[in-house]
Symmetry: C2
Subunit: 123 residues, 2 copies
DNA sequence: AAAAATACGCAAATCATTTGCGAGTACACT
DNA sequence: AGTGTACTCGCAAATGATTTGCGTATTTTT
C-alpha cells in the first residue's frame, strides 16, 4: 500500500515536510498521484500518526506525530527551518487552563528571524 | 481615502479580523472592492501599522501592529478566538538567540482546545 | 491645468489543497 | 471460482483565499 511508503518518508525525515516534498520523494520509488499523497496525509493526521502544522507561508508541514515536542525557527531570509526542543509552553498552557477554563489540547509556535548563516552574509 | 477607513476598522476592533470581515464591515459605509481591501491590508502590513498572522485554518488575520503582544486560544469546536496576554516567550526567545545565534524578530503562538462554553455543552 | 503618481474596480490568474467519479484491487463470505 | 463490499488511486475539475494585470479614476506634484 502506498500509505506505508508515504508514512515511511515522514518517519525517516528529521524535519517536517510539505506534501509536495513528500510527493517528490515518494515519486522516485513508486508511481503516485499528488492527490493520493494529500488523501493519505489527511488519513494519517486523522489517525494521529502524523501532525500537520500550517505555517505563516500558508503551506502545511507534516511530521511524525510526536512525543518530542518541537518548534521551529524559520529564517525569513533563506526560509530554512531549524527545530528547537525548547518549550516551556506546557507550563504556560497549564496556567492558562487554570485561569481561563480553556481546555488546551495543542499549540503551535513559530519563531521568525534571521539564522546565523544569513546573518553572516548580510553583514 | 479608503485606506483610512479600512485602517480604522482594524483600530477599533478588539480582536484580529480576516480580510473578509474587514470587507464586510467597510462595505456598510462605502463602496469598496475586496481586492482593494487586500491591497490596502498588504500596504498597512508593509508599513508596520498592521500585523498579519496566518492561523492553522490558513486564513490571514489582521490586527493593529502592537506593542501589546497577544496570543490566541482558538476553540476547535466553536472556532472562536480568545486572546490572552500571557506570554513568557520573550524570555524563551532571548534564550534561543543566545544559544543558537538565531536572530529572532517575531513569533506566533496559537493554542488550540475547547473553550469553557463548549466544554459545558459537550458534557 | 498638465504631468506624474496613486488608488481602485473588475475579471482573470494563482496556488495549495480538495473532491467527484470512475476504474482497479483486496478481502470476506458462500 | 463467484459475488459483494470496501478500499485505494488516478485524473480532471472544483475550491477558496489571495494576487495580479490592466484600464480608468482620482489625487498629488510641479
Amino acid at each position: 500500500m502506498k500509505k506505508d511508503i508515504i508514512f515511511n518518508v515522514i518517519k525517516n525525515s528529521p524535519n517536517s515536510l510539505t506534501a509536495e516534498e513528500i510527493y517528490n520523494d515518494v515519486s522516485q520509488d513508486i508511481d503516485v498521484n499528488l492527490s493520493t499523497v494529500y488523501r493519505t496525509l489527511n488519513n494519517l493526521v486523522e489517525k494521529d500518526l502524523v501532525t500537520k502544522v500550517v505555517r505563516q507561508d500558508k503551506i502545511a508541514y507534516y511530521e511524525l506525530a510526536n512525543n518530542e515536542h518541537k518548534h521551529y525557527l524559520i529564517c525569513d531570509n533563506c526560509n530554512n527551518a531549524y527545530s528547537t526542543d525548547m518549550c516551556d509552553l506546557d507550563k504556560i498552557a497549564r496556567k492558562i487552563k487554570k485561569e481561563t477554563g480553556f481546555n488546551i489540547t495543542s499549540h503551535t509556535l513559530e519563531f521568525h528571524g534571521i539564522c546565523p548563516e544569513c546573518l553572516k552574509n548580510v553583514k
